[in-house]
C-alpha cells in the first residue's frame, strides 16, 4: 500500500506539465527538489483578481529543501554513518529505511519509511554512538499538495550524551493515515501522539490508548488539518462586519 504510494508520488510529479514548465522557466530556487508545498500564482499572492501588476500569470512552485549530498558537514556525517552501519547490522538496507536525508539551516533530517520507523528509533536510542535518549514529541504537519504523502509526523530527538538534535520525518497518505507508534521506544510520545491524532487524524498503530486529548471526545474532524476551517465567526462592530481571519484577503 505504502509502496504503491511512494512510487506514485514521483510519477505524479512528472505528469504535471504546468509545474515542469514553471521549473524550466525559472532560475534555481532554494531547496530545489524537495516536496512541493504550494504553487504560487502571480506576484503578490492576491488570488481574487486583484493583481494588476502584470505578473498575474507567473506560476511558481514553492518547494521545501531537497535531499542533501554527502558530505553533510560537522557531526551530521558521523550520525548518518553510525545509523546506516547500525541498520546494516540488523540486515536492513539503509536505503530502504531512510528515504532521504535533508540538511538545511544547520539541522539534520532523516525521512524514514514508516514501516521501519520503530526500528530506526530504537537504533537511534540504543546505539552507543547515537544515544538519542530524549524524544521531544511529535508534531504533525499537513501538506495537502504533497499527493500520496499528505500527513507528516515530525519527531525531534535529543541526545544528552552527545549533545545533538536530529529530526525524523515520516509521511503517510491521507487515504491510509497510519504510522507506527513510538510509544514503546519513547513512552513520552504517549500524549504527543494522542495530540497529533486529535489534530491531524494520524493513527499511530500500537499506541495503547489513542483517543482524543485536547478536543471533546465527540468532536468531528481533525481541526489542525489544512482543509479544516479555522472556525471563526464574523465580528460585528457599529455598522460594520469583519470576517473571520481565515475568510479575509491574504497575501501569502
Amino acid at each position: 500500500m505504502s509502496d504503491a504510494n511512494g512510487k506514485g508520488a514521483p510519477g505524479s510529479e512528472g505528469a504535471n506539465p504546468e509545474k515542469d514548465l514553471s521549473a524550466q522557466n525559472l532560475p534555481g530556487q532554494r531547496g530545489q527538489g524537495g516536496e512541493e508545498v504550494r504553487v504560487q500564482r502571480g506576484m503578490f499572492g492576491a488570488n481574487n483578481g486583484g493583481d494588476t501588476s502584470g505578473y498575474g500569470g507567473l506560476v511558481r512552485s514553492v518547494r521545501l529543501p531537497g535531499p542533501a549530498a554527502r558530505p553533510y558537514g560537522g557531526w551530521f556525517d558521523e550520525v548518518a554513518d553510525e545509523l546506516e552501519g547500525a541498520l546494516e547490522e540488523q540486515d536492513l538496507l539503509p536505503a530502504n529505511a531512510i528515504e532521504k536525508t535533508v540538511v538545511d539551516r544547520g539541522e539534520l533530517t532523516f525521512h524514514i519509511e514508516r514501516e521501519h520507523l520503530v526500528r530506526v528509533a530504537k537504533t537511534l536510542r540504543d546505539d552507543p554512538a547515537l544515544r538519542f535518549e530524549l524524544c521531544t514529541g511529535v508534531s504533525g504537519v499537513h501538506y495537502p499538495n504533497d499527493k500520496g504523502r499528505e500527513l507528516h509526523a515530525v519527531y525531534h530527538l535529543r541526545s544528552i550524551t552527545h549533545n545533538r538534535v536530529i529530526r525524523l520525518e515520516v509521511s503517510a497518505p491521507d487515504s491510509d493515515p497510519h504510522i507506527p507508534s513510538l510509544f514503546e521506544v519513547y513512552p513520552t510520545n504517549d500524549w504527543h501522539e494522542r495530540e497529533t491524532y486529535d489534530f491531524f487524524g494520524i493513527v499511530f498503530d500500537g499506541h495503547p490508548a489513542l483517543t482524543r486529548i485536547m478536543m471533546p471526545d465527540d468532536w468531528q474532524g481533525f481541526p489542525q488539518r489544512k482543509d479544516y476551517p479555522l472556525g471563526g465567526i464574523p465580528v460585528e462592530y457599529k455598522g460594520a462586519q469583519i470576517p473571520a481571519p481565515d475568510q479575509r484577503r491574504s497575501y501569502s
Partner: protein
C-alpha cells in the same frame, strides 16, 4: 439472632443497611465485608488545588491512590491553528499567551525559530540578545515565584503565597515599564525587540535585584527548614533519571535527579555561553529537591540579570534589514498605541517608497524561505521547543510548541500512583504545569 439490625437489602443503588440500634462496630464490620472500597474520584477541572483547569481522575483505595490519570484539553485554544492565519510578526502576540507565566520564553523560542528560518541569527544585535536574556531571567524568577507561591498555597501555606505574589509584583512592574503590559507582552519580535528599554528601566532593575536579594532568604526561612513543609514534600513525587528520560521530563524535574542538563549550557542561545552561572541540581528525585532547585535557580537568575545590566551598551535592538525590521523605537501615540513619530514623519513626508514599504510590511508581512526549523530554550519548566514550517509565504505554515508543561504532566501518574491522595497535590505542584501551556 445476634445482629441487631435488619439484614442488608440489595437495591439498584447498591447494598443498603438499615440500622435499627445495636452495636455500631457490627454494622461497620458487615459493611466492610462487601469490599467495594475502590472508588474513582474526579478532581477538577475546577478545583482550588489544581493548576487551572486540570482534571485528575484518581482511583483510590482508602487513602491510597491506585491509579491516576489526567484529563486535559479544557483550555485548548487553537493557538497553533490561529498562527497560520497571521503574519510571522503577529505570531508573537499569540505565542505569548500559550504559557502565560513564561511569556518571554515563548516569544524568544518562537522568534529564534523564525530567525533561523530567515537565516538572520547572526544579525540580531547584541543589545537585543542581552535584553532578551535579561527579560527571560526575570521571567524565570516570576514563574518560579508563582510556582512556589501556588505550591505553598496548595499545601495550605497561605503566607508563602502572599510572599510570592508580593515579589512577583515587583517583576511585573519592571515588565510594565519595559513592555507596557504586565502579562502577554509580544515584546520580542522576529529580528529583535519591539522597542528599546525605556529610560529608568536599568535603575529600576538594579533596585529590584537589591530588594530581591533581601527577599529571597525569606523563602528559606519560611519554607526550606520548615518541618511541616519538609514532611509534606520529601520523598513525595519521586521520579528517577530513567523515568525522566522515558517520559521526556525536563527542567527542575530532570535536574532533581542529579543530571545537570540545562539547554542554556548544553545548546546555548542568545549568548548564554558568555554568562557566568551555575546549574543547581539535587539528587533526591522528589518534590523537595525541585523546590530547592527552583529557589537556587532564582539566585542564579539574579546573577545573570546583573551581568546583563553590566553589559548593556547603546545600540540598535532590531536587525538592519528593513525588509524584516518593524519600525523599532516606538513611542506611545496619542491614540494609546505604539507610534514612532519620527518614522511617521519620514514615511509620510519624505519618501513615497518608504510609505509603500511600511504599508506592505505591516499589512502583508515579510516572506520566510520555505523549510522547517526547531529551536529550544530552557524555560523555567523545561525544554520549550518550537517547530516551525514555512511554505515561503508571509504566514507560518505550521507552528508547533513542545511545551514542557505538557510533557512533564505525563509524569503525574508515575509520581502519584501508590501514594496518598494528599501527595497528589504536592506532586502536581512540583511539576508546575500551566494549563495554558499544556493545552495551547
Amino acid at each position: 439472632m445476634s445482629t441487631s439490625h435488619a439484614s442488608p437489602r440489595e437495591t439498584t443503588e447498591g447494598t443498603v443497611y438499615t440500622v435499627t440500634g445495636g452495636d455500631w462496630d457490627e454494622v461497620v464490620e458487615s459493611a466492610a465485608r462487601t469490599d467495594d472500597e475502590r472508588i474513582v474520584v474526579n478532581m477538577g477541572p475546577q478545583h482550588p488545588s489544581t493548576h487551572g483547569v486540570l482534571r485528575l481522575i484518581l482511583e483510590i483505595d482508602g487513602e491510597t491512590v491506585t491509579e491516576a490519570r489526567c484529563g486535559i484539553g479544557y483550555l485548548h485554544t487553537g493557538i497553533e491553528k490561529n498562527l497560520e492565519y497571521r503574519t510571522w510578526t503577529q505570531g508573537t502576540t499569540f505565542v505569548t499567551r500559550m504559557d502565560y507565566l513564561t511569556p518571554f520564553f515563548n516569544e524568544t523560542a518562537y522568534c529564534l525559530a523564525v530567525e533561523k528560518l530567515l537565516g538572520i541569527e547572526d544579525q540580531v544585535p547584541d543589545r537585543a540578545s542581552i535584553i532578551r536574556v535579561l527579560l527571560m531571567e526575570l521571567n524565570r524568577l516570576s514563574s518560579h515565584l508563582v510556582c512556589i507561591a501556588t505550591g505553598g498555597m496548595e499545601l495550605g501555606a497561605t503566607t508563602i503565597m502572599i510572599y510570592g505574589f508580593r515579589d512577583r509584583e515587583l517583576i511585573l512592574d519592571i515588565y510594565e515599564l519595559i513592555t507596557g503590559l504586565r502579562m502577554n507582552h509580544a515584546y520580542i519580535r522576529p529580528g529583535g525587540l519591539a522597542q528599546d528599554l525605556p529610560p529608568g528601566a536599568v535603575d529600576q532593575i538594579r533596585e529590584f535585584v537589591k530588594k530581591m536579594r533581601k527577599n529571597l532568604p525569606e523563602y528559606d526561612k519560611l519554607a526550606t527548614g520548615n518541618p511541616i513543609f519538609k514532611a509534606r514534600m520529601q520523598d513525595v513525587g519521586y521520579l528517577d533519571l530513567a523515568g525522566c528520560m522515558a517520559l521526556g521530563a525536563t527542567g527542575p524535574i530532570l535536574r532533581s535527579t542529579g543530571l545537570p542538563h540545562d539547554l542554556r549550557k548544553a545548546q546555548p542561545y542568545c549568548g548564554y555561553e558568555t554568562y557566568d552561572f551555575d546549574i543547581p541540581t539535587a539528587d533526591t528525585c522528589d518534590s523537595y529537591g525541585r523546590f530547592l532547585i527552583r529557589l537556587e535557580e532564582m539566585r542564579q537568575s539574579l546573577r545573570i540579570v546583573e551581568q546583563c545590566l553590566d553589559r548593556l551598551q547603546p545600540g540598535p535592538v532590531m536587525v538592519e534589514d528593513k525588509k524584516i525590521a518593524w519600525p523599532a523605537q516606538l513611542a506611545l501615540g496619542p491614540d494609546g498605541l505604539g507610534n514612532s513619530l519620527d518614522h511617521i514623519k519620514q514615511i509620510m513626508g519624505t519618501s513615497m517608497e518608504a510609505l509603500i514599504h511600511h504599508f506592505k510590511l505591516v499589512t502583508e508581512g515579510f516572506r520566510v524561505p520555505p523549510g522547517q526549523a526547531y529551536t529550544a530554550v530552557e524555560s523555567p519548566k523545561g525544554e520549550l521547543g518550537v517547530h516551525v514550517v514555512s511554505d515561503g509565504g508571509t504566514r507560518p505554515y505550521r507552528v508547533h510548541f513542545r511545551d514542557p508543561s505538557f510533557t512533564n504532566l505525563q509524569a503525574m501518574a508515575a509520581m502519584c500512583e501508590g501514594g496518598q491522595v494528599a501527595d497528589v497535590i504536592v506532586a502536581v505542584a512540583s511539576i508546575d504545569p500551566v494549563m495554558g501551556g499544556v493545552d495551547r
